[in-house]
Symmetry: C3
Subunit: 345 residues, 3 copies
Amino acid sequence: MKFTAQQIAELLKGSVEGNPQAEVNGLSKIEEGKPGTLSFLANPKYNEYIYTTKASIVIVNSTFEAESPVEATLIRVADAYKSFASLLEIYNQIVNDKKGIEQPSFVDPSATIGKDVYIGAFAYIGKNSVIGDGVKIYPQCYVGDNVVIKDNTTLFAGCRVYSFCQIGKECNLHAGVIIGADGFGFAPNEQNNYKKVPQIGNVIIEDHVEVGAGTTIDRATLGSTIIRKGVKLDNLIQIAHNVEIGENTVIAAQTGVAGSTKIGKNCMIGGQVGIVGHLSIANGVKIAAQSGIGTSITTEGEIVQGSPAFNISDYKRTYVVFKKLPQLERKINEIEKTQVNKTAE
Amino acid sequence: MKFTAQQIAELLKGSVEGNPQAEVNGLSKIEEGKPGTLSFLANPKYNEYIYTTKASIVIVNSTFEAESPVEATLIRVADAYKSFASLLEIYNQIVNDKKGIEQPSFVDPSATIGKDVYIGAFAYIGKNSVIGDGVKIYPQCYVGDNVVIKDNTTLFAGCRVYSFCQIGKECNLHAGVIIGADGFGFAPNEQNNYKKVPQIGNVIIEDHVEVGAGTTIDRATLGSTIIRKGVKLDNLIQIAHNVEIGENTVIAAQTGVAGSTKIGKNCMIGGQVGIVGHLSIANGVKIAAQSGIGTSITTEGEIVQGSPAFNISDYKRTYVVFKKLPQLERKINEIEKTQVNKTAE
Amino acid sequence: MKFTAQQIAELLKGSVEGNPQAEVNGLSKIEEGKPGTLSFLANPKYNEYIYTTKASIVIVNSTFEAESPVEATLIRVADAYKSFASLLEIYNQIVNDKKGIEQPSFVDPSATIGKDVYIGAFAYIGKNSVIGDGVKIYPQCYVGDNVVIKDNTTLFAGCRVYSFCQIGKECNLHAGVIIGADGFGFAPNEQNNYKKVPQIGNVIIEDHVEVGAGTTIDRATLGSTIIRKGVKLDNLIQIAHNVEIGENTVIAAQTGVAGSTKIGKNCMIGGQVGIVGHLSIANGVKIAAQSGIGTSITTEGEIVQGSPAFNISDYKRTYVVFKKLPQLERKINEIEKTQVNKTAE
């Protein structure tokens, strides 16, 4: 897809300065601009690059004043950053604009399929499942029996949604996401080995949730594992059975949350954090990367670090001393020696 | 599927109290009971909920005595918890009762397929592979060449089993499990880059093993990576080449075990633990979550924590002092000052 | 496939001692040798096993002198280890020698497919994608639109490569690898929830790269996430958007690298390491397993440990004192008591 400066300017309600027929078919950062790409300049810190960039078209603020000749065609708009961001979205929509049902795919006759859906080749839709309008199910996805996927949600290639799970509207589930596998529940039996506890609950994901590649969310033993509206999960996260994650909470990659823990709203949880089961985390809590949470956090907005974690300022102060431990030990030994000597005097 | 109180009572050899035609099509916790669901009351702590629950049917102990009117239909049995648990299993079996070969699927003509198997659409069975009786291979699974999968094992959607690997009886491999990818073996060469060491061993998984979603178990360089009878692995675990895990050992999510390490029987290993390669872990060892194991553990039943890990009681005592380090440092400085002053007197 | 001692000796230019018709169809370690397998003896430490091994054929150095009768057929070569290693490679090539296009598969008519490729059943190749000569795409792989995969690269079962990504020559991507899912980028909006930042860059993987099972590499927000020549990534690693990893760097399992971080050449990074975003790691740096990197490392060849990490020798010394903290505290308390007593005298 190629676009001219003229076309882009019309889209953004901007004005062209230079060649209105200049063409682009990609995007670039201004400092790495290549011919045939479109870039933008919003932050004055990057002004210098506009004189050297190879980008064919650059979107600039209407207030921008060039101090030397500029080779690129400029498009002047009220807010260069916002205009560029809206272009990104348009571009993204064009690139991901998939529709129709590719063959071979497997749609059980009892399933209900909405309007304007995309079902990629080798995708599987099980019995009685309901797929909303505008849903995109990329190739090789698995949707089990009795699943509900609401309007405008996208499942990228190779997502798996086990039976009876529910996904809200306008969610993105990236490749390799697994929703509703069995929770990890076993009861020791008389022979000193483990008997599986049947996991017959489900997973409910509300609207506007993003789930990163390879993340796994287990079904509840009974009831539901719940991911509330607006939650954003990064890649390779593990959410165990019966967990609940509150609205707009954000969790970075490779974090694990053990069974039945309830996390509040608007929390920010770093990468590689581990949270023990059956805890409760208050709203607005922030947890530093690699921390281990072994007890509930009841104070809203608390910020913690460490394994086990405690208040982040205390942790940082403590870690400063931790790094000095060898010299601290030497000092103690010297004090002790001096004292012994004095006592012996 | 709907069931009446009468049908369930017959199944459980219990007696109905209330409407024998009350119908349910789902299960719930008593405190969250909804109309049309079945619940149970076993622990007297939850007695209060039976008077307010919206569940249509509740299974109770035959000894239960109501102190106020109960709206739900009751089913009285000798042991409410056991009866409910057995219902869960029956329910689970019904929900997962898949049979037959869906099309399109790919079964190499040289493969041997047992009786009563399920092979989902888009599943792939390679050359000379042997699939036992009652095996369920969900859609989009990959079974390479010369693989053996024994009776009554289930591979959920999108499992991958590389060539020459063997899976025992009555195992569950959840979605996205990868068995037998190459071990991570490279030898530096003259040009200071790495040459791959061919990984031509396999993985052997014995009977009654559970492998959680997204877990990866690498094939041996030579010989076998072995997962013994009754081992339970949670989600997103990494088991490297030539590792051996002893009977009935349980490992929580996101733990990693490096190459050639041998783990004993009946161990319990927490989440996000890292175990270095070429170690040996004794039987019955317990490892706290997020610990790092850098040396072999030779004492049976030892319990450890920390990174690097040591005895858990010692670790906990040490961590108490760690959290006080800033005040400890202040104290040392004061002692030193006092001593210097006294010496100067 | 069966081979006789005679055939193997011809391949290795060695001489047979024993039965030239002895047959093998597998490989084993000498101490675990089974009938019908081929083994080797290179390290004199293992000499004893040659008298008891059940392996049918053993490759030995031409200088080897037996001190007792040996049952196995021997093949004498100049360097037993090298000969065995080259056999492994040949064996591996035979086992993985897949060719042709299995059906059903999905290849968009606009895609360009090279010579001698393998495309497994249920694989998907999107619009305008270019697949080089000798490429192997195992069953159930997903290759999006406008993807380039260069010569002799292998994608094992169920890999996903999102649109616009590029994979170099002679790479191996193991099962479940996900290349090019959206980076984790969200901007808070007025309603205190998050708006997705479109992720429209790509991933570029250069030649001779190995990516382990289940590893995820996110596309750049703008520009490219870059994995340089010869990089080796183990399983379940997370590489975030806009990261760059330098030539021949090796990363062990379950490590995570956050957005926009640049890692140098020839680094060695242990398992379960976490690296914060927007950092720069110098060439040749080594990072111990489970470390957390919160600031850039500018010294080439630096070796670090800890979370947050610092120099590994300092860390080890510090950890020795850490383990003694309870006794150190007791000592301080005693010193203080003595001092108070003396002052009070």
